[in-house]
């Protein structure tokens, strides 16, 4: 490195400063608050060390919310991936007209999630909602979409999938554009079936895009808040109370800021661990495929 290049690190400072201000400082402050018994209505806060963490980890409600988060995360990401992959392949094979269809299919993702969910909420409203009214016209008794613990989870998964499947579809469709068609042609000449072409040529070629999509979506779903907040508010009971909904209840309803901060830190650790595991697993599969 020549002498003038040694001072280049100074250019790094503005962006680092900005990041520190908007990301690292709030993070550090939340970690700091997590060590206090801090009720927003109380005149003072008391240092409790790891008390908030111990209290939370001993609560059945936390484990229940983690379980619900996992069900909703895996359900929605799984559905988004399967449908997104199907649509991406369909668009890839469609050729002409693919651009028009991809634009139309992308529309749900363009609408703000809160607005899209408000649409869905009124569509799923019992009796007079569009879905219920339509089914009742044909004398079909609809399920209690938002009122039954099972159907509330299903509704949340479907809502998330409706909004985010287009994103998955677009990423995978973009990745398909870089596919080496010569390999597919060669496989066809060798008599490979569509399934074998998909399994042994298309999927391995898409692995980097798949890793990216699943990681980003899982990270998003673990921070999933707006859709549940609008659609079910975490209910009925605790049926759709995810870890972020629980954090929100603690922080903004009960005003227990110390405990809410501790739960935020726990969430961060859980998400980081999960992403690390998934990334490692998928990368290992990818490398094994290379060999």
């Amino acid at each position: 490195m020549v002498r003038w290049q040694r001072s280049l690190w100074l250019f790094f400072l503005p962006s680092f400063g900005l990041l520190a201000l908007v990301l690292l400082w709030p993070l550090a402050y939340a970690v700091y608050l997590s060590f206090f018994d801090y009720y927003l209505g109380a005149p003072e806060r008391t240092f409790v060390g790891l008390g908030n963490y111990a209290g939370l980890l001993g609560e059945a409600r936390l484990w229940n919310s983690i379980g619900t988060t996992l069900i909703i995360a895996l359900g929605s990401v799984g559905l988004e991936f399967l449908v997104g992959m199907g649509l991406a392949l369909a668009l890839y094979r469609l050729g002409t007209g693919a651009r028009v269809f991809s634009t139309l299919l992308f529309l749900p993702h363009v609408v703000t999630p809160v607005v899209a969910t408000l649409f869905l909420k009124w569509m799923l409203a019992a009796n007079w909602g569009l879905v219920d009214a339509t089914l009742l016209t044909f004398d079909i008794e609809p399920p209690d979409w938002l009122g039954s613990p099972f159907w509330a989870k299903v509704s949340v998964i479907l809502a998330d999938a409706w909004i985010f499947t287009p994103l998955v579809m677009m990423v995978l469709y973009a990745a398909l554009q870089g596919l080496d068609t010569a390999q597919i042609e060669a496989a066809k000449i060798d008599g490979a079936s569509d399934w074998r072409i998909f399994r042994h040529i298309i999927v391995p070629a898409l692995i980097p895009a798949i890793i990216f999509t699943i990681s980003v979506r899982l990270m998003d779903v673990f921070r999933f808040f707006d859709v549940i907040y609008v659609l079910t508010g975490g209910g009925p009971g605790t049926a759709t109370e995810t870890i972020t909904m629980y954090t929100y209840q603690l922080g903004f309803r009960m005003l227990e800021v110390g405990k809410a901060s501790a739960l935020g830190v726990i969430t961060l650790i859980v998400v980081a661990a999960l992403l690390f595991t998934i990334n490692r697993t998928l990368t290992r599969i990818y490398r094994r495929g290379d060999q």
Binding site: L40, N127, T232, G251, V265
Partner: protein, 412 residues
């Protein structure tokens, strides 16, 4: 931290989006936030008209959103809100947290001009905390029992007088297209109101004299078991229903009867909103013990507005003349208006409301009751939806409640 920041931003985004349709006003306009009901639309409009055009900017929203927005704003000591609508329960909490401006000096100063002695002492007491007045009383609200008089008459039946009658009637009038009863179990506020009725009418109440939970005793379990039984005759989606949804169900003829606020009564006879004009009648809730509330408007401790101007604005909206006009939407807390016999003749739900007031009960007078409500309604819903047994759910709720109240210094 990223997650909390995200949640905060998301919440604020949702709350801000709700008020996005409000036109921009001058910077020093008095900002009022309020729950949205026909009565509160009337009173916030009365406050708007009390001052020159553009001085007042009212924003109306569902009560849970209003309280969240107020909690976030006031806990950060922001002056973004000047005047806030509060129920007697939320007033206790906000006053205990030091977020409200005491009004004693202004009350004394304007007592004669606005005839403030016309408010009964019990109402002023419910607007007070630790001996200080914090809120201008706007309405006395009570829950009534709404029922379809035409259907009951047709069946030769009388409205239910006991909870047993209510269950039998709900079963009798229930059909695929018209639910036997409305039921509002959306957490926290709506579900808490519904549970409050059962806990008082069948159970022994919420707490003993030392604030120890008794809602999980034998009578409490029976009360919530009855609520669960009753839910089989409620419209689909009742766990996500609050007052708006239940009102629509009654107005559209999709439900036969049930508990709903006095403030919704007038809308049953509004031909633009209702298909059951003249068909609904009201009685006091069977078994008694439904919620009675005194609501009002308070001034934020952090408001940078003129206290005198804001107080006069609230007092004008709460004047005798204003309340006589507003009696259509809510029961006015002024004695001179309440004793007006013309109102009882003009508004046919007033006799039922007076009877309901006699048998009704307010929420327990503790600043933390809404937090208790968050815990209890969550577990009651677990029981109603079959996630847990009633007894186990209530025991869990009682245990969490005791833990919370201990941490807030109730058992020293």
């Amino acid at each position: 931290m990223k997650l909390l920041t995200g949640i905060g931003a998301g919440t604020l985004g949702v709350l801000t989006a709700m008020s996005a349709s409000t036109p921009a006003l001058s910077q020093d306009a008095i900002r009022i936030i309020s729950h949205r009901t026909p009565a509160l639309e009337y009173y916030t409009n009365a406050m708007k008209e009390a001052l020159p055009e553009g001085r007042v900017n009212p924003e109306l929203m569902p009560i849970d959103k209003e309280l969240e927005l107020a909690s976030i704003t006031m806990s950060s000591k922001s002056d973004a809100i000047d005047v806030i609508y509060l129920t007697d329960t939320s007033l206790q909490r906000f006053a205990a947290n030091g977020w409200l401006e005491p009004l004693d000096d202004l009350w004394e100063k304007y007592k004669d001009e606005f005839n403030l002695d016309d408010f009964p002492p019990s109402v002023i007491e419910s607007m007070s905390y630790n001996g200080h007045i914090y809120s201008m009383p706007i309405l006395t609200n009570t829950e009534l029992f709404y029922y379809r008089k035409d259907l009951f008459d047709e069946a030769g039946a009388k409205p239910p007088a006991t909870m047993d009658d209510y269950l039998a009637d709900a079963a009798r009038f229930h059909s695929a297209r018209r639910a036997g009863t409305i039921m509002s179990l959306k957490p926290v506020d709506a579900a808490l109101n519904e549970a409050h009725w059962y806990i008082n009418a069948i159970g022994d109440g919420w707490f003993d004299k030392d604030w120890r939970p008794i809602f999980n005793n034998e009578a409490g379990v029976e009360a919530i078991t009855r609520l669960k039984e009753m839910s089989q005759y409620a419209p689909r989606g009742f766990t996500a229903h609050a007052n708006d949804e239940s009102t629509i169900n009654l107005q559209q003829g999709l439900a036969t009867m049930g508990l709903q606020w006095f403030t919704r009564a007038a809308t049953m006879d509004n031909p633009e909103q209702s298909r059951v004009v003249g068909k609904i009648d009201w009685v006091a809730p069977p078994g008694g013990g439904a919620r009675v509330a005194n609501d009002g408007f308070a001034i934020s401790k952090f408001s940078s507005g003129d206290r005198d101007e804001m107080f006069r604005m609230m007092a004008t909206a709460a004047s005798r003349e204003s309340m006589t006009r507003g009696a259509e939407f809510a029961m006015p807390p002024r004695l001179s208006v309440l004793e007006n016999e013309e109102l009882a003749q003009k508004y046919r739900w007033y006799p039922a409301a007076r009877a309901a007031l006699e048998g009704g009960r307010p929420f327990p007078a503790m600043p933390d009751f809404l937090d208790v409500g968050e815990i209890v309604t969550r577990h009651i819903l677990r029981a109603v939806t079959g996630e847990a047994e009633v007894k186990a759910a209530l025991d869990q709720a009682a245990s969490e409640t005791e833990k919370l109240l201990a941490s807030r210094g109730y058992y020293k």
